[in-house]
């Protein structure tokens, strides 16, 4: 028996989804931006009610563990950890990027996507991103994505160079998704144009562009079936970045003034 509650709070809008044994998914979303903490329990409860599942019937709690908004990540992960702890059930951490890639794949076809590149805006030309290859070929991998370039922090320019030099030559389309499009659409377009591969560029539609718990729930379902779970204390965020203070400490640029103010 598998009944999973999955939480996705790493982007602008929070959502919660329940996936049941038969693979059906029930989702509830926050209607206002960045109200993750206020809404998280309410939307979780709504999703459970939709699914007609009592919280005590849950077998796992999943959370999108990042990358994304640090605050959002913490709200989802803390809630998942604590629900797991109190209900006595295991947790599952899902990558927000992998979740975005899968979400994009559901709407894509062989013609519209060979590679999928979820890009999350990390400001000042920074992104959290990864590149996956879409599998449409009949077989065990059908309808899944296979990692090509690892998930990490990339400067948008570096990511584009990598994609255009290594992935684009295969000829297929590159489907960009994630809120990184909103910030870097022009930069992405320009890079594809000047690389002479603008016909290979596709942007995901807005309604599938942002993190959603439905996709996280589907991935969690596969992980649960494969026994890939953790105890609540081991469910940890994936920030993909040190705090600014730690970065500066490492670089030796922690200025005296900032140290005294203690305000990083």
């Amino acid at each position: 028996m598998i009944n999973i509650l999955a939480l996705e709070t790493t982007g602008k809008y929070g959502s919660a989804a329940v996936i049941t044994e038969d693979g059906r998914v029930f989702c509830a979303s926050s209607e206002t931006e960045m109200n993750h903490l206020r809404d998280i329990i309410t939307i979780s409860d709504e999703a459970l009610k939709e699914a007609r599942i009592d919280k005590r019937e849950l077998t796992h709690i999943a959370a999108s563990r990042g990358p994304g908004s640090f605050t959002g990540i913490r709200i989802g992960v803390t809630t998942a950890r604590t629900l797991g702890q109190m209900l006595g059930i295991p947790c599952i951490g899902v990558s927000s990027l992998e979740s975005l890639a899968n979400q994009a794949l559901e709407r894509a076809s062989r013609e519209s996507a060979l590679y999928i590149a979820p890009v999350i805006n990390a400001r000042r030309h920074q992104t959290y991103a990864g590149v996956w290859k879409a599998c449409f070929t009949y077989g065990p991998d059908e309808g899944t994505v296979i990692p090509v370039f690892g998930e990490k922090q990339y400067m948008i320019e570096d990511l584009l160079e990598l994609i255009i030099s290594d992935a684009a030559p295969c000829g297929g389309k590159v489907l960009f998704t994630g809120d990184g499009i909103d910030a870097y659409q022009d930069i992405i377009t320009e890079a594809f144009v000047s690389g002479g591969v603008s016909d290979q560029l596709v942007f995901a539609d807005e309604e599938i562009r942002y993190q959603n718990a439905v996709s996280a729930a589907r991935i969690a379902f596969r992980n649960a079936a494969a026994g890939q779970t953790v105890s609540y204390n081991d469910l940890l965020p994936e920030y993909m970045r040190l705090s600014e203070a730690e970065q500066r400490l490492r670089e030796g640029t922690l200025s005296d003034k900032i140290r005294k103010a203690g305000q990083i």
Binding site: I41, T71, Y232, A245, Q263
Partner: protein
């Protein structure tokens, strides 16, 4: 419920302490787990909010487990969960609030969001088991200086507060200026014992007559001016004298105003709270002034003066008794007023 007692789980994560406690009937501490981050932030010279938030997340569930275990109870025994929802660092607060809401929801028990400052006052209920409102409270900490009238459980009426620096902040700033360093409060306290409190005439800031407000920001400037004058005149500076004179200027105003407030509101007791309540001269002076007017002064032991989950549990218990409830939409309020 366990052994006929109503159990409250209290959670506090407003700054750099991850703290969880189980309290019986609002008064008896069954466990009081405090996981401090002081060692982590020292290398940065102060609390780094992002690091504090990350750390709270890693520790919170373990602290809950330890609090339950030490209290010898299980989750089913808990009747109520209370949590600090402000004031504090927003990223730190939300860890506690997210955890508390999840506990309330998973265990089907009521939830109470607690004002951290009310918690500091409630620490006294844990220490003085026969203490009951009404009383006057003096909350003096690193971030707050307030005189608060407490007519009944779960009612706190602020009648005065600082208009600029908090008392603890003034201690910390002046300590830095005179080279005593961190943590300023206890160091000034210690140095002052060897000094002459009448050596330097620090100005007492009383503000308008009848006001219970404070202003301490001028004291740092006065200390700086004094040091400059003395240095220019080539005179040697006696740090102990500066500490003692500065401290006297702060505690005299606090003590006088607190006692006047108690008298005006007809309160027979002054209940102290917050880190500066440990200041030896403040305790001495306020007791002197209070007893001359037939007023008793109480304060919690040092461990209950600093941030802890037990005080939050106690405050939550009395809020619950008064019929208060928080919904699942409880949010963190970093600038929560008294």
């Amino acid at each position: 419920m366990k052994d006929g007692k109503f159990l409250t789980l209290g959670i506090e994560t407003s700054c750099d302490e991850t703290a969880v406690s189980v309290v019986a009937d609002g008064r008896g501490i069954l466990s009081n787990i405090i996981s401090t981050q002081i060692g982590i932030h020292t290398q940065f010279g102060g609390v780094v909010p992002e690091i504090a938030s990350r750390r709270h997340l890693e520790k919170i569930n373990d602290c809950v487990d330890r609090a339950l275990e030490e209290a010898g109870v299980c989750t089913d025994d808990i009747d109520l969960v209370g949590v600090t929802y402000g004031p504090g660092l927003v990223g730190a607060l939300l860890i506690g609030v997210a955890a508390a809401k999840s506990i309330a929801y998973a265990c089907d028990i009521p939830l109470i969001g607690v004002n951290h400052m009310h918690g500091h006052i409630a620490a006294n209920y844990l220490e003085h088991h026969d203490l009951e409102p009404p009383f006057m409270s003096l909350v003096v900490s690193g971030g707050h200086t307030n005189i608060v009238n407490v007519p009944e459980y779960n009612r706190c009426e602020k009648i005065g507060g600082t208009r600029d620096d908090a008392a603890g902040e003034a201690f910390d700033k002046v300590a830095r200026v005179i080279g005593l360093g961190y943590p300023g409060g206890p160091k000034v306290d210690k140095a002052a014992r060897e000094g002459n409190r009448d050596a330097i005439a620090f100005k007492r800031v009383w503000l308008e007559p009848g006001s219970y407000d404070f202003s301490f920001s001028g004291l740092k400037t006065q200390a700086l001016n004094y040091l400059n004058t003395e240095r220019q005149a080539g005179r040697e500076i006696n740090v102990n004298d500066v500490a003692a004179s500065f401290q006297e200027a702060v505690v005299e105003v606090i003590a006088e105003k607190a006692v006047c407030a108690a008298e005006e509101f007809g309160q027979k007791r002054i209940v102290m709270a917050g880190g500066v309540a440990s200041n030896s001269r403040l305790r001495e002076l306020i007791s002197e002034k209070a007893s001359a007017r037939g007023i008793e002064v109480l304060r919690p032991s040092p461990v209950l003066c600093t941030d802890n989950g037990a005080m939050i549990a106690s405050a939550a218990y009395y809020a619950y008794q008064a019929g208060e409830r928080s919904g699942y939409d409880l949010d963190a309020v970093p600038a929560l007023e008294f």
